[in-house]
Structure formats: structure tokens, C-alpha cells
Subunit: 477 residues, 2 copies
């Protein structure tokens, strides 16, 4: 997995033809500058950049349709690009082609406070949306580490710290508008909260990572800002005690908004980076949402469970600025991890297992890291059975990269053996494609059949999730 | 829509060939008796029976595979059958073929109280599952009117009175095992609560009504039985007041378990049928789940909202038997409606709109019924924006059937104009196919492409949702 991106360059004649077709419409919004191309072939992970042949900055649905129609005509790949904050090489132009940057499509199209839903263009980021909602009493809960675009979050089926209560993008998306591989525009669903009308195309495009079409609008469910929010931090004598607290809390059906697990390595990193002084021990970061009475009741229940497992007393943060400081530290965990080893690169990975297996999976994983001498802080959305490692690696050291790749393989196979998945929220890109046969077996052929049906020429983000043009991606053959 | 089922008989040579292929394996579990065939071509709605050529009673995954392989070889339709309680002609054998009855596949395969999930065979009914769970502290919330099979509920994306809190089958299904149109067996997902690993095949098969494959196991999320359950009934001076109470309650984010709307026609029917004496007025049936404190708080909030809209005081049912009596009346609403006009048939229909449009949609619909002199009690899962009518009709009176069909058309088009859907929970079958172009436009072509990709010979429940063999279903041509 640590190998360079498996790139097949685009046939130059086709590249020239598509650029000639696009230039009149897009002018300066079509760029072949090396720096722009390089930036658009790279995400936030360790994956090497695979630059596209050109970048188009779309500003409308019609722009997206024009790009896709030209690419379809000339059989040139189209790679949608939001903020470039993916983690498995999702935006890498593995066969060249056009990076379709939708970051300028960043308008809030409509908002219905009565229905608690909103429709946005795909380039709107989660923070931008929440800023827009500030005075409405509503908020959008899903918070991956980055300030990602909502089109990108839909495409990767993103989640974050709130998913244990509010769900992931799978639940948050009410409907999408999508431009298909031949340029047609569809709407996957209307705004009713539920529907039994035909195949669930919304969920088909959520998580498809741009391989079936390009999302041009996203309709999202919103939630009311709770009357009361309280955050707390609690340290535990060992990992098992912390995870057992999570399991018991979930089983007690406490409607926690957040229950985040950080191991002692990550806590050390956070203390150093965010200038905090928490015990260097397995720790839970918690957040409670509800009415005053409900929050008090939740705190009492979880406090008793934590106490039963030997947890320390809760360090509370009630005021908005204290809560913000606490969660800032959690959101900075990735950068804190990187700072543990200056000059290194982070290789983030994630897995997700049934919660009954979480303690076992985490403990075996940590033992494995220790055995192989790997530095990889662990953080987890523990309420979902989802956890992350960040391997701190030197990409120029092949032995180290091979060791991290092998540990990542073992992590995934361990999660699969526990009936889990190779990714809870980062997605597949090309980084996790090698695991899909083990995870999905024959079902992968169904994914491939769907891909072929909707993108017969394999122009939509080719080489991601399913490689319908074959393992060597002989698109140009 | 009131026309007879558009049946194209199966070519007799193909029928004989498939029966000869299946007879050795299935013996007496293969039936061509007229009564059995007729029963399997008919659901609980007014739709005429379209009997299959034969019925096979499957007892294992291998049985299902054997049937589908034989049908694939001879290009014979396969129509999965659970309890036959669908409402839009889902089980009608529009081109003949084999009804694949999975009701004997009724084992609970595994249960994990720790993970709060369960895996069942498709013939397990919702009541059977809850009986099995009785001593675990867990329950399965989704409750369509009928005691439907869980395979059928997954296939129709069913919901019910609890969906406002617990979601529909879309949210409840963690994963499926499905036999495809060529007999291959796939598993759509593992047991992790969330995953970003590839296309969401689970959601693709949920709601596909057997047109893409046959579900042979269902893994479901369960919920803890709440510490306290309280039910209440509240009458309102008019429909607008009742619906406004629903809207305000949803917006106040009260986590109600149920908020059901019944119009004055339905209340009159329920009073007569279930020997009750509620006011004959628009009425809400409510249920509150939670801790003691949470339930008290919810009741106070909703009570204040109802009071603000001129609702009467809550008539509470706290004891289990009183609650059971109340909800029994709600669940008997269909039979109560039928009893309003002895000898009639019920033509149930449903639509779902954004909640901000619910009052308008309900009021316009009731005015339309009055204008056309149609008797059709209204009940609704109002918290979801979903409501039902039951047209009480004489199927032998063509004028009356035409009037009901026209009112149904207007209901659907009214819901679509409000950005709603032609079915919130009953599904499409063949009864609502004519509305899919209006609802989905070009997206219907995407559904058709998916259908063609997974079932190229159109043998899986042909003529439902999308008719890939053409409008006249020339399967035998």
C-alpha cells in the first residue's frame, strides 16, 4: 500500500482535444499550471500527488455539465474536487484528466427552518454552513476533522465526533442533484423525510466518491441547537476500562452527542500541542446535549458507569469557550500527533467494528504497534466502534513505510475478522481498494456492475473503489 | 390505475421446463394448486390477483438459489413472497412465473444484546421477533399495520408509527444477504454501525421490492425498551390545529416515539369498531419513551404546544394494558375504516410531504374528497409528514373506481407539487408505477440502468418499480 500512485498518463491527443473543447467556455477558469495541478492531485494524506492534466473551476451546474460532456466525448477522466481534504488518495488523477473544482459553487441555495433542512451547492463547507445557520437555532452536526466541503463529505460518506447521536452523511443527506457520466442532471429524491418510491439513489451516490457522477447540490437535515451543552473529560486506568465505559453507555441508551476515545500516546501529544495538562492515560472526551434536566440525567448515568470502571471524576466544561478549547484539542489531534515526530508525515487510517469487539480490537492493535515499534496515536469515535490510527512515518524510508503498510493490513484484517469494515469514515479512494475483496467478496462484483451501468467508459474518478477498466487501468489501451 | 393487473402469461413451454427442473428438489414444496397460486398473487390491497404459475416453499438459502438458478436458466420470473401484506400489488405475478415463498425461513439466526443487533431469516415477522426479544430488554420498533415479514419490510422500505423517533427500514437494516438474479449469494455489509467502504448496497436492496434480488437474511438494529412509556390522546377543534401541534412538536425536537394523526372520519370509525368514545374530531395519538424525568418533560412540552393550538387535555394511558388498548385501536384503523361501509373494499394509499406543507396537503386533500363525494378516512404518521387515505370502494362499480383513481392521482400530484413523494411507506409495486416519471424524471433512467445491470433478463419480480422489458412487458416476445 505504500507504493507510489499507480498512474497511467492520459493519451496526449485526447488531452489536447478536451482542453481545446473546454478553453472557449472556461478561459482563465481552466488551468494547466503545474502548482494548481499538483495541489489538485493531492489530499491531506501521505499519498503521493497524481496531478490532473488540467483543473476547471466550475461555478454552476451548467459548467459541470459542460466539463463532463466534453470529457465524455473525448473519453477523458473527471475527478471532482472540493477542499482536497480526503485521506485515501480520493482526488489523485490516476489516469490524468480534468480535476473539476467545485469550491466556487459555494452558495446556500435554500433554507427551511420549518422543515429543518437546507440545500447547498457542493463547495459549501461545514463551517460555512454553520456560520450561515448561526441565528436560526439550527446546526449541522457532522464534523470530520477538516473543514470539508459538503459535496465531498457526501461523496465519502463522512462522519465525525457527533455521529453516535446524529448519524453520518448517510443519514444526513435528504437528497442530491448529480450530473451523470453523460452530462445528464438528476435529482435523487424530494424533500419528504421518508419515501418508499423506487431505488434509494441518494444512498447510492453518498459514499460513491465521485465514481458514479458529480454532486452539484446537497439537501441536508439540520438539528436544533440544544438548550444545554456540557462537555467533560475523564481519564481511565487502562484502555479496557475506557472502552467498557463506552459500551455500557451505549447499551444504557444514553443519547450522548459525543464520546471520543484517545489513547495515552494521543493524550501526551494533545497535552504538548494544545498546552493542556490532562493525565497521560486512556481518556474519554464526552459531550451531552439536551434540556437542562436531560443533560443532568445523562451526566449522572455516565458518571456512575465511568466510576464503576475506575474512571476519574469528570472535568467539566460548561461555558462555550471552555468547551471550544476542549474540542479544539480533540480536533487538533492529528496535528498534535504529527508534532510528536517533527518532519514526519501522517498516515491516517481508520477501521470500525461492532462495539462488542471494540476493546479487543483496540487492545490487539496497540499490542501489534508495540511489537513492531510503530508510533501511531489512537483516537476513536468509540460510540460507533470506529477508531483511527495515525502512523507517524518518514515517506522516504521504505522499511518504515513497509512496516506501517503491514500494520495497516493487519489492522484491517483484524477488523474484518470481527465483522467490521476497512473504513468507518475515511472511505476507499485508492488507498484501501486492496481490502475490498476481503471485505465484500462477491458483492464487489455488484458494485462493479453498478459502476459499469452508470459510467460505461469509466471516466468518473477512475481507479477508485472499483476499477472497472481492470487492475492496470488500461483506459488508454 | 383501477384497471385489471396488466398480465402477460408465461410461455407454457418455459413454465413446464422450470417446473420439471424444480420438481425433484422440492416435491410437495412445489405447488400448482389454484388456491395456493391465487393466494400468492394477491396482497392486502384492492389489486386483482395475478397468480404465479407455481409456488415454491423455500426453507434455506440453497433452496432460494436453486429456484433462482432454474428460473434464470429458463428465463422465468421469480416473485418473492413473505406474508403477502403489501398494498400496491407487489406480489402479483404479472408475467406468471414462480412465487418464492420464504415464510418457512423463519429462524432467528443470531442475537447480540451487546451490539443491540439481530440477524433473522426473511420470513420472521416483526411480532415474532419482538416475542423472541421479550426478556432481553430490547425491542424492534418498526410496525407497519400488518404483522409483516422482515424480508418483506426491508424490500418495501417499510415504516410505521414509530418512525418519527426510530426511523424506517432504511435506518434499521444494518446489512442483508441477497441471492442475485443469477443465483449468486452476496452480503451487502458487515455489522459495523457505520462504514465508508464502497457503494451502499444495503440501501440499494432496501426498497427494491425484490426486483434486484431476493433477501435471504436481514441484520437489524434493535433498541432498548424505555424505562417509561406513556401514551396519550388529544382532540383538536380542527385539522389545522392538530397538524400545527405536530409541526411545533417536531421543531421543538421533542423525541416523541409516536405522533399519529386521525381525522374525524377515522375517529368515528375507530369509536364504532373498537367501542371507544373519543370526540369525533381531528385527534393525535401520542407516545412518549424515556426515563421518568424525560417522559414528564416531554409531556409538559407537548401539552403546552397542544394547549396553545386549542387542543383538549391529554387522556393518558400509562398502564401497559391501557396503552395496548389505545394502540390496538390505532392499528385496527384500517379494519375500522372498512367497517364504515360493509361489503366495500379498501384502497389504501399514502403520500409524504415536507412537514411544513402537511397541513396544506391534508386540508386540500380533504376538500377534494368532499367535493367528489368520496369516503376515505385519513390517518397519518404526522411527525414524518406522511399520511394515508383508505378509499372505501366497490371494485365492481367502474365509476366509483375511476373516481377513487382520479382522487389518488390528484393526491399524488399534490404531494409531488409540494416536494413530496408518491409513497412514504407502502412502496410502488405496480400500483404506483405511473407516478414515477413525474416524481423522479431522468433519475428513473438511472434506476432502470441499475435494474438492467443486476437483472439483465428481467426475471426478478418483473413489471414492478421499473419495467425494463418495456411498457407492455414483452418478456415472452
Amino acid at each position: 500500500m505504500a507504493a507510489a500512485a499507480p498512474v497511467t498518463p492520459l493519451d496526449p491527443a485526447r488531452r489536447d482535444a478536451v482542453l481545446a473543447a473546454l478553453a472557449p467556455r472556461f478561459g482563465a477558469r481552466l488551468s494547466t499550471a503545474a502548482a494548481i495541478r499538483d495541489q489538485h492531485g493531492r489530499d491531506e494524506s501521505w499519498h503521493a500527488s497524481a496531478p490532473p492534466d488540467a483543473v476547471v473551476f466550475a461555478e454552476s451546474v451548467e459548467d459541470v455539465q459542460a466539463v463532463i460532456r466534453a470529457c465524455a466525448e473525448h473519453r477523458v477522466p473527471v475527478i471532482p474536487f472540493g477542499t482536497g481534504t480526503s485521506l485515501e488518495g480520493h482526488v489523485a488523477a490516476l489516469r490524468g484528466g480534468i480535476s473539476l473544482d467545485v469550491s466556487r459553487m459555494n452558495r446556500i441555495l435554500r433554507l427551511s427552518p420549518e422543515d429543518m433542512d437546507v440545500t447547498v451547492e457542493p463547495g459549501v463547507t461545514r463551517k460555512q454552513l454553520n456560520a450561515h445557520l448561526r441565528d436560526t437555532g439550527l446546526f449541522f452536526p457532522i464534523d470530520p476533522g477538516a473543514d470539508a466541503s459538503l459535496g465531498g463529505m457526501a461523496s465519502t460518506r463522512a462522519s465525525g465526533t457527533n455521529a453516535v447521536r446524529y448519524g453520518t452523511m448517510r443519514e444526513a443527506v435528504l437528497g442530491l442533484e448529480v450530473v451523470l457520466a453523460d452530462g445528464r442532471l438528476i435529482r435523487t429524491a424530494r424533500r419528504a423525510r421518508k419515501s418508499a418510491s423506487g431505488y434509494d439513489l441518494t444512498r447510492l451516490f453518498v459514499g460513491a466518491e465521485g465514481t458514479l457522477g458529480v454532486i452539484v447540490s446537497v439537501t441536508l437535515r439540520l438539528h436544533g441547537v440544544p438548550e444545554r451543552i456540557a462537555s467533560a473529560v475523564c481519564s481511565f486506568p487502562d484502555m479496557k476500562a475506557a472502552v467498557s465505559t463506552v459500551i455500557d453507555t451505549i447499551q444504557a441508551q444514553v443519547p450522548l452527542a459525543r464520546i471520543e476515545l484517545l489513547d495515552e500516546v494521543q493524550m501526551d501529544a494533545c497535552n504538548r500541542y494544545s498546552k493542556l495538562s490532562y493525565p497521560v492515560a486512556p481518556t474519554l472526551f464526552l459531550e451531552f446535549h439536551g434540556t437542562d434536566a436531560a443533560v443532568e440525567e445523562q451526566i449522572a448515568t455516565v458518571g456512575a458507569i465511568a466510576d464503576h470502571h475506575g474512571g476519574g471524576s469528570f472535568a467539566f466544561a460548561h461555558a462555550a469557550e471552555d468547551r471550544s478549547r476542549l474540542w479544539q484539542a480533540r480536533h487538533e489531534a492529528y496535528y498534535a500527533a504529527l508534532a510528536l515526530r517533527p518532519g514526519c508525515k501522517g498516515w491516517p487510517t481508520d477501521a470500525c467494528v461492532p462495539i462488542s469487539r471494540l476493546a479487543e480490537c483496540v487492545l490487539e492493535t496497540k499490542a501489534d504497534l508495540a511489537e513492531h515499534g510503530l508510533l501511531a496515536p489512537l483516537v476513536g469515535h468509540a460510540g460507533d466502534g470506529n477508531f483511527h490510527l495515525v502512523f507517524l512515518v518518514d515517506p522516504d524510508n521504505p522499511d518504515e513505510m513497509a512496516a506501517a503498510a503491514a500494520a495497516n493490513d493487519r489492522l484491517v484484517m483484524r477488523a474484518l475478522a470481527m465483522d467490521g469494515t476497512c473504513s468507518g469514515e475515511h472511505g476507499i479512494g485508492y488507498g484501501k481498494m486492496p481490502f475490498l475483496v476481503a471485505e465484500h467478496g462477491e458483492a464487489l462484483e455488484v458494485m462493479r456492475a453498478v459502476k459499469r451501468a452508470l459510467d460505461p467508459d469509466d471516466i468518473m474518478n477512475p481507479g477508485k473503489i472499483v476499477a472497472t477498466s481492470g487492475a492496470a487501468w488500461p483506459f488508454n489501451a
